[in-house]
């Protein structure tokens, strides 16, 4: 879902012009900005309280909390925008604990000169994403920085969720023999972004996979309550996330290259740019580790969900004191799957 989605064709407010320092100064301009953009689109009972903090009520169960700062260039990209991403990213962080996300907060840092119409598009998209996910934005804040001290718009979101009794999901729970699954194709988001980056005129039809995963996680936990590890392979892609899990659980991981789902167009784009799809970011996919005997049942449950149709079992956890992630290549050899160093860079030769 992107800001260009026809479902978002709401009547926009009369806000025109660009962000200026008065929008963060606490005066009338700021009040109007909050009223005409944030309150207008994100409206819910919590924001309607109008106080310095939202009163949320009583919750039964263990609470989890996650926070995520979002900076992305370009702010609008195929398949999403910074607003929807800020909602999805934090919901997914909460969901990767096996928790049900309840509330979100959002802070905006706006750079002087940022077009208000674009800000409104972003907020409309956020509101839609929050509503679609059933997780309201209950608190927010806005600050304005001088021109040149920001990059248009930065959004930080924080999420709170509740964990059902008996759920124990953690990156440190993987054990030798466990099965590793992914919920879908790898690398879609990163390639969608790269294709739009300034100075990279690389036209593809690839769209970001940005989506909330809490509903998929709920269906998975219903099928296999004993899920051991859940992670969303965002920055650094599958490689980085598997390495994190291996180190946290002090185990090795072996995956099969041929089993990792990658869309042909993503594979082709990576091939051209000299990138490895395993290192490219995802925003709507998860990695799950469970006991080997539960793997098929879990796979069936993931595939039965609309967000998990391309799910696959990609490898297994092994004992390894070096905590290396290795991959059986398509060719039949073996190699290490490493974290990337710095940014992925295109090849020269």
């Amino acid at each position: 879902m992107s800001a260009n989605d026809p479902r978002l064709a709401v009547t926009t407010s009369s806000v025109r012009g660009v962000v200026d320092m008065t929008h963060g100064a606490g005066g009338r301009a700021m009040a109007e900005l909050i009223r005409d953009i944030f309150q207008r689109h994100l409206a819910n009972e919590f924001l309607a309280q109008g106080n310095d903090a939202a009163l949320l009520g009583t919750v039964c169960g263990r609470l989890v909390m996650a926070t995520d700062a979002h900076v992305i260039s370009p702010v609008f990209f195929p398949g999403g925008d910074i607003g929807a991403l800020a909602i999805h990213g934090t919901i997914n962080d909460v969901a990767m604990m096996g928790a049900r996300p309840l509330w979100l907060s959002a802070s905006f840092i706006l750079e002087e000169g940022f077009p208000l119409a674009e800000l409104e598009r972003i907020v409309v998209s956020m509101a839609f994403a929050a509503r679609e996910a059933g997780v309201p934005v209950v608190a927010g804040d806005t600050k304005v920085v001088e021109k040149g001290k920001g990059d248009g718009v930065f959004i930080s979101t924080t999420g709170v969720g509740v964990l059902a009794d008996g759920t124990d999901v953690s990156g440190s729970n993987a054990r030798p023999g466990d099965a590793i699954l992914v919920s879908g194709t790898m690398g879609d988001h990163g390639v969608a972004i790269l294709s739009k980056r300034v100075h990279l005129d690389f036209e593809t039809e690839i769209i970001s996979d940005s989506q909330p995963l809490h509903d998929l996680v709920e269906a998975m936990l219903a099928a296999i309550p004993g899920i051991r590890v859940l992670r969303d392979p965002t920055r650094g892609g599958l490689s980085a996330t598997l390495n994190e899990i291996a180190q946290q659980s002090k185990v090795g991981i072996v995956i099969r290259e041929a089993a990792v789902p990658v869309k042909p167009e993503v594979a082709a784009a990576c091939e051209l740019l000299g990138l490895d799809p395993l290192n490219v970011a995802n925003e709507g996919k998860l990695i799950v580790i469970c006991a080997a005997q539960d793997a098929e049942t879990l796979l069936t449950a993931i595939r039965a969900h609309p967000k998990g149709q391309d799910a696959a079992i990609i490898g297994e956890v092994v004992a390894d004191q070096h905590a290396l992630v290795r991959m059986k290549t398509r060719l039949g050899g073996m190699r290490v799957v490493d974290w990337i160093a710095g940014e992925q860079l295109p090849r020269i030769c």
């Binding site: 091939e271 290549t329 060719l331 073996m334 190699r335 490493d338 710095g342 295109p346 090849r347 030769c349």
Partner: protein
């Protein structure tokens, strides 16, 4: 993916591996230098070594454009960005290479220099077009593969009358480097580096053709097989080299016929010779001063030569003495022979250029092959 997966097919790989195992004489050992970092990378990325018999060895060559650039030229680039205040456009791989006192372009950028990563020379031209008030310099590096696009940019800049675009030219030549290695004492007299044949470059050969390699086959009596960058290309080429060695032949054979012809890309060659001429000498990291091994911009295009437009003060390269990049680039040492490998020098904190570029031997060893070190045969099972 069509036209790619075919060259990574496991069944075909098994067939070729079987033929190599059968034909490689167990009484002999075979040492083949892959000149290109692209081959080094492919071997490690796809685990080609796991499919080779024990007596087939690879000697990694200097064909990584980032790795062979001497530190002084990198320092020049940093100076262009910092002291002359230009917009310095560079291919991404150069960003993290540490120069003198660990100063990289990425570090310069963090300190406020305007360094921009581009994917092509035309991106650099676009930046020049959009910033008419700024000087824009393209940091040109690479072998014969990247030279024609630089020539195109210079030609186009001239045609469009650019006043703010120039090229800092560091293009180098493959055949000169191979000659230099074959004539080096390590190969010729001392016998430290044993080379029984070459996997010839693939992309470079698509431009220069297979013909320039005839000289090595004849003069040095070494077989050369021009090999594609896909893993099956590499395996098939190894088989062809083994056959040549077994039959005591030393010819130039072309495995990569789907791209490389004998004469190469004549149009690209004409373009390159119109814009560039040979430098008398050029310093290579690892190889030292190599005669007639690099290109400079012809006087006719002097307006687009950053070395003429800007005064550069840096003179000599100051290498980190414990870094073995120079020996690794000559095939004298393997990355794991270096004391810094995996201790102080990792891709996160590279000391030498071979650890930075994905085509560098150290980066390939570290990224894909670490698990081999304690138990070299583990993966072959």
């Amino acid at each position: 993916m069509k036209y790619v997966d075919e060259y990574r097919d496991q069944e075909l790989a098994k067939t070729i591996a079987g033929a190599i195992a059968t034909e490689a004489d167990s009484e002999k050992s075979y040492h083949f230098m892959e000149f290109c970092g692209g081959h080094t990378h492919a071997m490690f990325r796809y685990g080609v070594q796991d499919l080779m018999p024990q007596n087939v060895h690879f000697v990694h060559g200097p064909g990584c454009p980032v790795c062979v650039l001497p530190i002084c030229r990198l320092d020049d680039a940093v100076e262009l960005a910092e002291r002359h205040g230009v917009i310095l456009c560079t291919y991404g791989d150069m960003m993290r290479v540490p120069g003198t006192k660990h100063r990289s372009l990425m570090r310069a950028k963090a300190d406020g220099a305007d360094v921009r990563m581009v994917y092509s020379t035309l991106d650099a031209l676009k930046i020049a077009r959009e910033n008419p008030e700024r000087q824009v310099v393209f940091f040109a590096i690479g072998f014969e593969t990247t030279t024609p696009p630089t020539a195109v940019a210079i030609k186009r800049a001239e045609a469009e009358g650019f006043k703010n675009f120039s090229v800092f030219c560091n293009h180098v030549l493959t055949p000169a480097a191979i000659s230099h290695i074959l004539e080096s004492p390590e190969v010729r007299e001392l016998g430290i580096v044993k080379i029984d044949g070459f996997l010839g470059p693939s992309h470079v050969s698509s431009v220069i053709g297979s013909q320039p390699f005839e000289f090595f086959a004849e003069e040095f009596q070494k077989p050369v097989v021009i090999a594609g960058f896909e893993p099956l290309d590499v395996m098939q080429s190894v088989l062809m080299l083994i056959r040549q060695v077994n039959e005591d032949r030393h010819e130039v054979e072309n495995e990569y016929t789907r791209v490389v012809t004998e004469e190469g890309n004549l149009k690209a060659q004409a373009l390159v010779s119109a814009v560039f001429e040979l430098r008398k000498t050029f310093d290579w990291r690892g190889l030292g001063t190599v005669p007639y091994s690099a290109l400079r911009i012809r006087d006719a295009y002097a307006d687009f030569d950053a070395e003429k437009r800007f005064e550069l003060s840096v003179k000599a390269s100051r290498e980190v003495t414990s870094c073995e990049c120079p020996s690794i680039l000559r095939g004298v040492k393997k990355p794991t022979d270096c004391k810094l490998f995996g201790t102080v020098c990792t891709p996160q904190n590279p000391i030498g250029s071979c650890m930075v570029s994905s085509e560098g031997a150290c980066a390939a060893y570290w990224t894909y092959g670490r698990f081999r070190e304690p138990k070299p045969l583990e993966a072959a099972k």
